[in-house]
Symmetry: C2
Subunit: 587 residues, 2 copies
Amino acid sequence: MEQTLEIIDKVNTPEDVKKLNVSEMNKLAEEIRYYILKKVNTTGGHLGPNLGMVEATIALHYVFNSPVDKIVFDVSHQCYPHKFLTGRKEGFTNPDKYYTYTGYTAPEESEHDWFKIGHTATSVSLATGLAKARDLKGGKENIVAVIGDGSLSGGEAYEGLNNAAVLGSNIIIVVNDNDMSIAENHGGLYQNLKLLRETKGQAECNFFKSLGFDYYYIEEGHDIEKLIALFKQVKDSNHPVVIHMHTIKGKGLYAAEHDKEHYHWILPGELDEGYTPASPAEDYGSITASFIENKVKEDSSVIAISPATPGVSGFSPEFRKKIGANYTDVGIAEEHAVAFASGIAKNGGKPVLAMMSSFVQRTYDQLSQDLALNNNPATLLIFWGGISGADATHLTGFDIPLISNIPNIVYLAPACKEEYLSMLDWSVEQNEHPVAIRVPSGAVVSCGTKDDTDYSVLNKYKLEESGSKVAILGLGTFLGLGRELKTLLNKNFGINATLINPRFITGLDIEMLEGLKKDHSIVVTLEDGVLDGGFGEKISRFYGSSDMKVLNYGAKKEFTDRIPLEQLYERYRLTPDLIAEDIKACL
Amino acid sequence: MEQTLEIIDKVNTPEDVKKLNVSEMNKLAEEIRYYILKKVNTTGGHLGPNLGMVEATIALHYVFNSPVDKIVFDVSHQCYPHKFLTGRKEGFTNPDKYYTYTGYTAPEESEHDWFKIGHTATSVSLATGLAKARDLKGGKENIVAVIGDGSLSGGEAYEGLNNAAVLGSNIIIVVNDNDMSIAENHGGLYQNLKLLRETKGQAECNFFKSLGFDYYYIEEGHDIEKLIALFKQVKDSNHPVVIHMHTIKGKGLYAAEHDKEHYHWILPGELDEGYTPASPAEDYGSITASFIENKVKEDSSVIAISPATPGVSGFSPEFRKKIGANYTDVGIAEEHAVAFASGIAKNGGKPVLAMMSSFVQRTYDQLSQDLALNNNPATLLIFWGGISGADATHLTGFDIPLISNIPNIVYLAPACKEEYLSMLDWSVEQNEHPVAIRVPSGAVVSCGTKDDTDYSVLNKYKLEESGSKVAILGLGTFLGLGRELKTLLNKNFGINATLINPRFITGLDIEMLEGLKKDHSIVVTLEDGVLDGGFGEKISRFYGSSDMKVLNYGAKKEFTDRIPLEQLYERYRLTPDLIAEDIKACL
């Protein structure tokens, strides 16, 4: 049955929320929940986190005076109800505007949003900054951070809490405890949260109190009246406060309440009766999981690790169950994950740590100090690396500059399934280097034959096809683009270009590159990521003192926001036609 | 009076410690303390942390069976007593061997060292990895992490504790609580540690217990007998344990016990009677502090921030006292520091966050997500950036690749004091960009005249001297090297080279670079840092399709370890002679 817009029709700003009575607010919650379900079932998106925050968001806007009072949402994937109440409801109620607003807070959309946020565990530190500036300027507004229990495993959240606690003035941290991360929670803290839930916040042993916070527990995280009463109580507090609020992730949708991991984020159409999302026969996640499953059977010291994103790397609930103690989810704690993997490798274990490109950003110093400096043979799998049409908060094009300029790490770019498996096997079995592999994205590509390269001979590029005049270095999955370019050059200009599959991101094949000088005048590099600090620039540097012309292709150094991939390729001249044009001009 | 070597003479391995009685161990402590003082007063080094760990280290090696049992030291700047007991005592007792061993743990020195460690907060995660590998392999040894209270403010330590707590098997975390970081501690946690010290560990509200640890308190952190009793009690524990041990930083040296911040690390000769370390009239730290002090007088929204390293940036105790609430030390919490600064800037404050190059590595994702993506106008000061002869754990040559490949950040390289002050003033007053400034290192250099450049016009390089044939881009402090090179080229080859001061690390002055094509055939870039992912490679990329030859000079991508700077310059051909040779060969 179609839901009415009875109350939501009247709400355009937080001021309008304050005019409602409790029964109207409950009706508003119903309407919001209905339209979230409808929209997310059309576009895909975060479901569970938003369903869980409907009542609390209404209560927050009833009590606090946004935007004078400032609310910061951690990860901000639970901000849909907030968008309903801050002038953006049409993004949910009007299908024509489903794509108008981002799924995260965005200051350019609304004065009620303070930061672009998509990574976890940042809200408390950001809010503490807002509060400190308020204090310096003599302001009096409330600063509120809303952070989920899952985010509390991240080091930045702890650093923020430890500092917020001694701010000496108003800051209100609402801990939205639904007893879930994306998957289940991991870490000692969660036993304390459980104890606090079970004792209705009365247990003396209290993580938040140990950090010095004034602490309030509310069991009824979906009871607007009780939420309002508590928020009123702490409003204008002159000291740091934690509200520990118990909510139900996926609240209001039976399926989401009962399979919280699956319904954290859904694909378009998943809520339709009988709908089964198309599942490819295999993808790079399932290939990875199968590989590890088999390895574990041979060698009990092999261990798969995920920082709370097992879905990214094919570590399904079945896989996790099957390999048992040979799998560790460390929670949202990427820094720990890298140091942990280094420690395992040092003591003779074989760790395989899988991370999404966007989140490996959280580990630069651990990659450098804990891992690379110690030269421990851990394997890191970097998933989804590449130029992408994603939100600005989740871009995946920066991992090459990030990882490849750290000494000692061998960063590999397989171009197909067979190379990936061969590299993976080599990496797990060797004892010399920390190795990162940029797992290909998208549909599984086969090279046709098994790859039996000995990767212990570092920085040996693969000559795919020998030619002259122009040499194309197609890195990783861009080998395909290189192949298309080669075909086009042949067809349009009669150039028989050389095609090279570098495989090694972190080193130069000096012999091969020197050899090209003999009968090539142009080298073209193709990489699926930002050019600045990347692979191509190293080739340019190598040829700097020679007559070789070098053309580097990849992304510009910029934050893009939900720009379709084809547009980005056009913008960066990453199509065979455009590159061929440039080559022609350079010949 | 010269100390004897009565006991230490008998101790070559931890096995020898086990043969001593308590009174001999106390004598051993006396001897170790004496030789630490003597050696550090000659070479300089970490004093307070080592004096505080003498008894505990003896007790650890008495009870545990290193290297089967594995001990990991956080930061490892307190590992001197451990080195005495693990075959490296001559590094302290024999002046000829003062420089034989590093000041940190180093696996290549001893089987009793597990990791190269120099950054904080990493030990618990590394130790958890050792323990996990042990469990996978069916081992039974003890894994011990020793971590100071100061390091507990770091997010990685918390991530590690949160995960260690649920390991389900043996891990022993010794928290060495001396109530100090390098400077005083900051954060809510420290009130809990104080409460626990005051109640002898009996308070119910307990940070470690809240994370799920079995917790033991020991007040007498310098009482070998009591330490041994407690370590024996927890040895072979089948679950995670925290020992909260109260020690005195600088124990045994009156001056160090009473000025803990100053004696954390001392210069050679500081303990000699009447010795006053030479203090330059001004350095870039004092220049920075003066600037901020004056700014704060004009504008109360200006705030200086340090992540527990105020000495690095000239934020002396006097300075901190003078500006009061306009200074925040966030503890060892670099991630929080960046997000905090971003939040302050967003709410109209003017944050100036000072960090050492080596530690800015801990903040890549915060620089990218919390700061750059949000484009908030915070000012970051990167101190000590450059190629250095430091320990491998504290290298400072990676900040350019780290920072400069992130969109939106303007990274500036002043070549002298006047440029630095002009950039700093512009950065604090502007509202458009996150700005990082690579503060020059070493002696203060003057450009002679006040710099009144308008830095809001981005990526405008400064033409220092116009010439032809060869153009030299001397970045930041390497402008001096560029000037020497220019002189030499003129003298030896009669080349009147162009000299350019790029100032902007993060962007190209396309107009100027295009203009060089007219009457130059070689561009030389000079940067004080690793070449890979750095400034020079961007220049090489720019000229890739042209006839311009480009020679990039900087450091090789490698971890170096206490190699004198002159040797490194030679290795990287960073001398006017060697560069001139290369230019000649290229002409």
